[in-house]
Symmetry: D2
Subunit: 329 residues, 4 copies
């Protein structure tokens, strides 16, 4: 069945698409827990089988999603709890992908995806700005130069976007991996959500890397273990909604309104019985072609993106300073 639904970068939203139809998806496990005190919702989507991957339109793997109104708060006000939860999620996926023997260093390459010059796409570059790389120091002075018994050797790159470089991001990163041999990549990217409610309050952490999506930038290539040769933990925050999404939502709302109206109910029911493909056929010529390549974003996106970049960087710094803490428990 061809589905006209707009793509989302969030596994959570793909799952909801089916959940709303009360369909259970074989090969996909969904768990949810809500921390009421701290207002943090954790959703765990595990795509276990190729069949599940096909239905979800996403590769097999673990997708952790944290939702919290605190994500875009100032770091000082930001509950330390949220940073710790983000840190825990990233640590879990790292140790799911690689085992780190005691006392051995773990070489991480951070990749800040996106375009620094376009506000809602600048999340990855901004996070890179707040990290303290140390690979060059460890390389020159040995790991005993580090203040703590640091096990993480961190490097970072902001590769730019294809319109600026003429190269696919994956080509650039693959070359750097070839030269510098990290054990693992952490990539941060701004995502597109399907639902504007999710903007700037949702963070998805996946052990499947970053996949080409409907994000802000165009032509983005997969950043995965297959394409890069080392495991990739993808960290994404939706900062935009694709403009076409708004159109779909409006149509759905309109059909609902027709159904609720005494006089127009029959039309609503007829439309509701259409398959997504039929609905799409019905209106496709009417959707403005000018909406292609457009995105929807909040007016205060600049402040949002800055604050979120601080929150993620604080979580990563927690992780880097104490990588094994969660393990030993």
């Amino acid at each position: 069945m061809k589905n006209y639904s707009v793509r989302t970068d969030l596994a959570l939203e793909e799952k909801e698409r089916f959940a709303s139809d009360n369909v259970e998806v074989q090969g996909v496990v969904l768990e949810e827990e809500y921390d009421e005190e701290n207002e943090i919702r954790l959703t765990r989507v595990v795509i276990e089988t190729e069949n599940g991957a096909k239905i979800m339109g996403k590769p097999t793997g673990i997708y952790l999603t944290l939702e919290s109104p605190d994500l875009a708060l100032e770091v000082e006000e930001n509950s330390r709890v949220l940073q710790e939860r983000i840190c825990d999620c990233i640590r879990e996926l790292i140790f799911h992908k690689i085992s780190c023997e005691d006392g051995k260093e773990l070489k991480i390459l951070f990749v800040g995806l996106g375009n620094r010059a376009v506000t809602p796409d600048a999340l990855g570059p901004y996070v890179a700005d707040h990290l303290e790389v140390n690979r060059h120091i460890v390389k020159e002075y040995g790991k005993y130069a580090m203040r703590t018994e640091q096990l993480i050797v961190l490097s970072a790159i902001v590769p730019g976007v294809m319109g600026q470089t003429g190269m696919e991001t994956a080509e650039i990163v693959r070359g750097i991996v070839y030269e510098t041999k990290p054990d693992l990549i952490l990539a941060v990217d701004a995502l597109a959500a399907r639902n504007s409610r999710r903007l700037n309050r949702t963070i998805q952490i996946a052990d499947t890397g970053i996949h080409p999506g409907s994000g802000v930038g165009n032509y983005r290539n997969a950043m995965t273990e297959e394409s890069l040769g080392v495991p990739v933990i993808g960290i994404g925050v939706p900062t935009v909604v694709d403009a076409a999404t708004i159109v779909n939502d409006t149509m759905e709302n309109f059909i609902t309104a027709l159904e609720q109206s005494q006089a127009l109910r029959s039309t609503g029911e007829i439309l509701r019985s259409y398959s997504p493909a039929e609905k799409y056929e019905f209106v496709k010529e009417l959707i403005s072609p000018h909406l292609n390549g457009m995105f929807v974003t909040p007016k205060d996106v600049d402040e949002m993106v800055h604050q979120i970049s601080h929150t993620i960087a604080a979580s990563l710094n927690l992780l880097f300073s104490d990588i094994n803490a969660g393990e030993s428990e």
Copy 2:
């Protein structure tokens, strides 16, 4: 009658709203000319009476709109013709507002409105970056220090937005006007259009200043002769569409689709007969409240806004180097 139509900053689009209903608006004159060779369309909306102003939702005055696909081209490729037409429009409105005697200097304060940190709102600040102010040089060395027999004494301010300053932009500019006594203000601002087709290819020049609208920034105050004490020429380019506009457009398209369908035509006709207020009532609960404060903008907005800022600055530099050229013709 309360009208649910989304506001537009473009007088041209307000006029179209009525034109599409074949209504002639009393007190509003519309002229259009199209330069086929250079693909430049000039629309002149003159709101002559208070009645016209009331219907249009805009103050009496002259609104010149140039539309051209070249507006966001690189300045070098950019037809020089377009820059000259923009220059001519600004010059016309300047001399409509003030008379400049031979040999007398004309003191202009340029105001770059908007938020430098939010890409689609950064047009005003970017234009300011490309201007060469000279007021401090003329003040120190006299006007004979200038290379040409320059008649324009230029100063410029990028006042920031209320969320950054805690002050209304008009308060800041009024204070500077009080201190530095310019004859005229030229203000550049990023606007919101109603139609996404207009983005980044339309420039509106108005002798009525800048009015609070649905632009990118919130809480923007009027920058007018009334509020500032000197004439204000407002120069605006739409770089965003309000997200709510997309919803309206989709509903309209949907109704059209219903009308064209054999089975559903009656519903379409019923809906068409609704007044805007009734349509609004029908769907208001279904419009996502999350769309408030959201805007729609193209993915390549960064490049667009930079190029347009260069085009406008080039037009202004043409104007400043030869202010009287158009007069003597």
Copy 3:
């Protein structure tokens, strides 16, 4: 006597100039205290008389200087103690200039001086980026809208530099003061030091405002109570040394080397006996004219300026959240 000494923006350094000659300056009081535990040195220079002002080349008033290696550390590592000491110094000078009755709001205009585009001159604009203004909120919703019983009503402006605006900074700020009637101005500026040891670890807080100096920007005008109409607390951090300073220092060092040399001692002694004016005559033609308008700054100035801006902003936020704390003690 014409003095060839390079200007410094630091009262502390002016004083040292005399101290090194064991001259006590009439009308100038110097007190110093050192907090060994926190490595913070506080120097208080009070210029009490017009005679003192003449000798020091600075207006009468109180100049507090804090020196600490922690100033440019990251805010988290940064001892909270330093922030509190900075906060105390600013509060002391505010209450020296104005009395604030219980329950009355205190309207403060923050001015971030300097050029955002030149790294060592961007301190003022960067501090402005980290402040939370509230004047617009208090104006719209009343002071009860604020979370705490906030007494500070804060607005902020980044006026730019004369080469960008064509206006003197004092003109711009005077206009804004006229319109918005603040009780007091807090102005932050990057300064020039005489001694490169002081860069990025010294902060001067003065109740005399900001004076034209040898700072990064050219043509800077006085920002004082005389020029602006309300008291001005100036907060400055040296981020550059004037290039000519290096020349002077080298000559002094050279003369010392000559004196210490068996063979060349007599020349050293002769040169030492020269007055500054004579020394200046001796070498003036040899100082490269290309050094005019040049400054010396560290290679890591970008990181320095960012960190210091965070430290100052944290101190100001402490102050604003608890303006009277120090008073009641």
Copy 4:
């Protein structure tokens, strides 16, 4: 002989060091031509032998230096002649290193070296901002997608500096070369000059790549054919002078002043007879250690660097649009 002279990135200045002593350097050829009408001086230093390389402290190769007061002018005012001369120099060195058969594409990787966040070091990143890469377009649509019969396939990277990435720039670029197989690298970097007169009016183009120098950034690694595997044309503009240079210059000037003085001549003569190493010994303890890691730069460095980046980008765009023009003559 250990030489205390401060390093310069300009071959021209190394040569001058000897020229001033009337020493002819074996294995080094110097040619100079001056275009009086356009005020452009071209100096060609060819280091032909290993002996010459040893004396000059620079590898064998061709170093073309253009000096012109127009380099930092606005591009519009900028004589087109200067852009063409820069373009000619780059083209000459490209075809000196590789032969380009008719109709075959030439794959160029542009590398914008330096730190975007430190004004005098941002030249490379700024030039990258103004280039139009096309590799991704040629790769997707074939070279016939290009407007002209374009032979250049351009990609570009802004790798950042080691303090931001934890990686040597050469590691990053080597990886990208490995993945994308360019024929040639063009690298732009901000340099350090020995003489402040040269700042912002000199451009050096060398077929030996970029060598670790005393530039703004620390720890910069060689970007050469040896380290990267493909020829590297290095394009550099001095934007800073090392602070230690000023000290040396002052000492030299001081010695000259002593020699010219009746009373102190003998001391001057004694000092003059010292070898550089002896001079260094004489004053080394007196040179402020705080000057390490400091650079000297003009106050208007921001405007300078922006304008120069436009001039270089214009020259490169000339080159890319017409790579073979000079060849066929």
